[in-house]
Amino acid sequence: MRRYLVRRFLMMFPTLFGVALFIFVLIRLLPGDIVQLRMAGEGGFVSEEAMQQERQRLGLDRSIGRQFVDWMKGLTRLDLGLSMWTGRPVTYEIGIRFQLSLQIAIMATLIAIALALPLGTIAALYQDRWPDYAVRVFSIAGLAMPSFWLGILILLGFLIAFHWTPPMVYVPFWVDPWGNLSQLIWPALATGYRYSAVATRMTRSAVLEVLREDYIRTARAKGIRRKLILTRHALKNAMLPVVTVIGLEFAFLIGGLVVTEQVFNLNGLGKLFVDAVTQYDYTMVQGLVLLVAFVFILSNFVVDLLYAWLDPRIRYR
């Protein structure tokens, strides 16, 4: 068990290295030079000399191998280089936005769990009757609706009904909990709905499957009350696949934030990423891509750990 986990943990690094190499090399190999795009993009004539100077300033005049080694060296000190747009360290730009995105992600997860567990269980218990259909329509709609459109609809609803918009300026939770929540609950809801749709589907099918197991029939035959069977026997065993989906979707949540933050005009990691892409800020793009891959791989690892912890039958070798 421990050996498996150690190996599994160590396997994360080659993958991350592959991610770093892939994004770094591709950005530099493909035609279209950042300096040219940026300087010529503003219109007007730019001398070759000025461009060469800019390349030198950004460190783009050196060989790709050299640049990569430098980047990797910095990485060991958790230094991702300087943003090509603002000139400030990439880690600083990420740091000031991290809290906001993390809070939305956690809130969206809580919303998803709070919706998915009861709804999925109800749907399974009333299979093919109207509560089941209602839940299924609710979750299929969640998969089909783009989260940014849901966000727009939420804003629109408040505007039309109350002539109110959520506050625009971010305040940390411990400074003004009410102001903080009234700003961030809406983007969390918009992203959490889709998330809950996936988790609801999973909960429903997991509970349905467990209810068909022999031990449920045994428990029923023993005359145990339905409520006890459901909580002690069924739900506990149905949680395994649900935890997996929630864990895996947490990583996808970062993707959802990219769009939602744009709708609500929040200055988080998602907006930082979109801005970096539009501004050809390559150090920022590669830093963020690496961060996302890290979170993604790490959450897969945590799901594996949870799995072993929740189901004692699972023994990794």
Partner: protein, 302 residues
């Protein structure tokens, strides 16, 4: 139960007597009765495809024609779904937008899933070291959410309709490859692959002629599951301004460009394109779900 089964039998018998057209009709009828949701999905998809093909005939206006006398016109008899900030007809733009959505959706899914099919099947066929290396490379691509990898590709290639198709299909390849490889591993052990090898056929022939046809069911499942996702992804990228570019009509693009700012005075601008996206994705999901049920009941989750 019996009275449900009887008419179906009649239809089948009639079909046997009256050739292929009747038989196709009978098959459709059976599908509609057994899988009403899947049938509804297919119906919407067909309507969408027809709308996209016949867009110039169906659309009441030119989707690019601006009419500054009728900016922000609310829905009425002239403009059924109103006009946008340039006085362009929203309905016509949604109709022409279906072309973009379907082109990107089908283009990205078909190419992405097919590339994944070939890579996954070959990887499963060769096994050993090649398989391991391919799997590690796929792991790298699988360690991003779809949209993040798509955005990374956009960062490299730039925007525009065909680049968006490329950006969306890149993250789909490893996902399709992983699923197809799993099936290919079991297909490889089957006697007919051994027989083909004994006949001295080359690797390419065995992979394409003997393995790929047997990996088709999971391939189709993955392909249809991608369709809805690709449309959603295109809408997201276009909404961010990093996908299809103006003035091409695209649903995601219609939600951008201050749609939220005008929301209070002209709510039809953000509402209808979003409905179109949701309906399209909904239909493709239903279609994909019912196809999955038909091809592989084990994978059923809803």
């Amino acid at each position: 139960m019996a009275d449900v089964a009887l008419p179906a039998l009649d239809v089948e018998e009639a079909a046997l007597a009256h050739g292929p057209a009747r038989r196709a009709l009978a098959a459709m009828w059976r599908f509609a009765r057994r899988k009403p949701l899947g049938f509804a999905g297919v119906a919407v998809v067909i309507v969408m495809v027809l709308t996209a093909v016949l867009a110039p005939v169906v659309a009441p206006y030119d989707p690019l024609a601006t009419d500054y006398g009728a900016m922000f016109a609310p829905p009425d008899a002239r403009h059924w779904l109103g006009t946008d900030s340039f006085g362009r007809d929203v309905l016509s733009r949604i109709i022409f937008g279906s072309r973009t959505a379907l082109l990107v959706g089908f283009g990205a899914s078909v190419v992405g899933a097919t590339a994944g099919l070939i890579i996954g099947t070959a990887s499963g066929y060769f096994g050993g070291r090649i398989d391991m290396i391919v799997q590690r490379i796929l792991d790298v691509f699988l360690s991003f959410p779809l949209i993040v990898l798509a955005l990374a590709v956009v960062a490299i290639l730039g925007t525009g309709t065909f680049k968006v198709i490329l950006a969306i299909l890149v993250p789909m390849v490893p996902r399709a490859a992983r699923v197809c490889r799993a099936t290919a591993l079991s297909v490889r052990e089957s006697p007919y692959v051994d027989a083909a090898r004994a006949c001295g056929y080359g690797h390419v022939r065995i992979i394409l002629r003997h393995m790929v046809p047997n990996v088709i069911p999971p391939y189709l499942i993955v392909l249809t599951a991608f369709l809805g996702q690709a449309i959603l992804l295109e809408a997201s990228l276009s909404y961010l301004g990093l996908g299809v570019q103006e003035p091409t009509p695209a649903w995601g693009l219609m939600l951008q460009g201050g749609a939220a700012e005008y929301a209070e005075s002209a709510p039809w601008i953000p509402i209808f394109p979003g409905l179109a996206i949701s309906l399209a994705v909904f239909a493709f999901n239903l279609f994909g779900d019912s196809l999955r049920d038909a091809l592989d009941p084990k994978l059923r989750t809803l």
